[in-house]
């Protein structure tokens, strides 16, 4: 073969060195860039965690709930369940791809349907997880320095503020609304308890102690002595917080809540759009679009995206719940 012929072959077009279709390749490159986005978020989470390495919330003290099991301490079982749901829907997806290779329309339909159901269960579970996290559990006191003081009894079990705070019947402070005060100023909801109510409750209940965020050598949060507990709350306490949002977080550093909402939210958004794309593909399968096209490669491409969502969750699960 002369060089001219070889060059014609190389530059004449139609070469496929990666032996992969354009669509699949581009999906792979999109996945790489999306993976880097997620890595950026998780690395930023790592940065903040290393910055507050001695006071970061302990995940299995934060996520302890399981639906329909109230008051049962079930750390991580729910996320483990969510992980399993997502892996399961990944399996039905790859089975759909496999059925597509065999041009088996009815099987692809069933497996796509199951994948969509799995995705919906996952998004629903995440909504429940968010709801529990936002509503909060025991309540805590935020100090002037922005630290969180939680309450425990003598045995170290958590105590909810609502169980010991003394409600003051004659609260003179009500929520300011623009209709009954300055019309150009607004105020958010007032905390359920004022500092005075919490302090009175703490004074009245001799066995309630304060637990700070500082992690001691045993890897547990430090519990203060009775005298020091009273001192901390009275001297530094500023605000009663219950639950978590982007400003305050009863479980510890507000950054923990910020990253939790942002990263699981961004992932949840991926799952949600994945479900939408799966639904579109599902209807195309049902209508026989790919049967006529003679190839189920579209199923393969959304499959890649769907597995990627699962892949990201595996990492989110590790870095938010396990490590």
């Amino acid at each position: 073969m002369s060089t001219a012929v070889a060059e014609g072959k190389t530059w004449g077009g139609g070469n496929e060195p990666l032996k992969s279709s354009y669509g699949k390749m581009m999906m792979w490159f999109f996945i790489v860039s999306d993976a880097l986005t997620f890595s950026g978020f998780l690395a930023a989470y790592g940065f903040s965690r290393f910055k507050f390495i001695d006071s970061w919330p302990i995940a299995d003290e934060v996520f302890t709930h399981f639906p329909f099991l109230h008051g049962v301490d079930a750390p991580m079982y729910y996320v483990a369940f969510m992980t399993f749901v997502l892996i399961m829907s990944s399996v039905t997806m790859v089975l759909a791809v496999d059925a597509g290779h065999q041009m088996n329309k009815s099987k692809v339909t069933i497996y796509m349907f199951l994948t969509i159901i799995g995705g919906l269960i996952f998004v629903g579970s995440q909504a429940w997880e968010w709801n529990t996290f936002i509503k909060g559990d025991y309540g805590a006191i935020q100090t002037k320095g922005g630290n969180i003081l939680q309450f425990v009894d003598a045995e170290g079990h958590r105590v909810a503020v609502r169980d010991f705070a003394v409600s003051d019947e004659h609260k003179d402070r009500t929520q300011h609304q623009s209709k009954n005060g300055l019309w150009f100023v607004d105020e958010g909801t007032l905390p359920a308890y004022t500092m005075d109510e919490v302090i009175h409750g703490l004074q009245a209940n001799k066995d309630v102690l304060v637990r700070t965020q500082i992690i001691n050598e045993e890897g547990e949060k430090t519990v203060l002595s009775r005298a020091e507990s009273l001192n901390q709350v009275m001297k530094n306490g500023k605000l009663y917080v219950e639950g978590a949002n982007l400003h305050v977080n009863e479980y510890g550093s507000p950054l923990f809540a910020d990253f939790f909402f942002f990263i699981t939210g961004f992932h949840g958004f991926h799952v949600f759009s994945g479900v939408l794309i799966n639904i579109i593909i599902f209807f195309n399968v049902v209508l026989g679009t790919y049967e006529r096209r003679g190839s189920y490669e579209m199923v393969e491409k959304v499959g890649l995206y769907w597995h990627f969502v699962d892949l990201v969750w595996v990492f989110v699960f590790t870095f938010f719940y396990l490590v």
Partner: protein, 126 residues
């Protein structure tokens, strides 16, 4: 091309008869790994609390198990095993290089900021 699958995992230790069978096999493996992770996370064995390279051994175990899971999801569910070497490397090496680079910078800096507060040069709690 697309219909041929490599059916061995664990470097040929386990070979499946069909692609469907391989999928279920990988699912079983991933489930076992997840169960181990959750069990370790709940039990938190005392022996794994020692520090290694600035992190608890337990955390290293979690990270390694996660990467193992990621490998099997990519290689078998996403069929990376059946792609050409060039495509595999394009995707994996790019991501791994950039992620390691970013992690190094951010974690190093996070640790440094912690030290600055910890040594009392700057006060963060008033």
């Amino acid at each position: 091309m697309a219909h041929e699958h490599k059916l061995e995992i664990f470097r040929g230790l386990v070979k499946f008869k069909s692609n469907t069978q391989k999928i279920w096999g990988v699912l079983v493996f991933l489930t076992i790994v997840t169960v181990i992770e959750v069990a370790l996370g709940i039990v938190k064995p005392e022996s794994m609390m020692a520090k290694f390279l600035g992190m608890k051994i337990l955390n290293w175990v979690f990270i390694i198990l996660t990467i193992v899971k990621a490998y099997y999801i990519t290689w078998d569910f996403m069929h990376m095993r059946d792609e050409t070497k060039a495509l595999q490397r394009m995707v994996v090496w790019t991501a791994i290089f950039l992620v390691l680079y970013l992690l190094f910078i951010l974690l190093q800096e996070g640790g440094y900021v912690f030290d600055v507060y910890d040594n009392g040069y700057i006060k963060k709690d008033f």
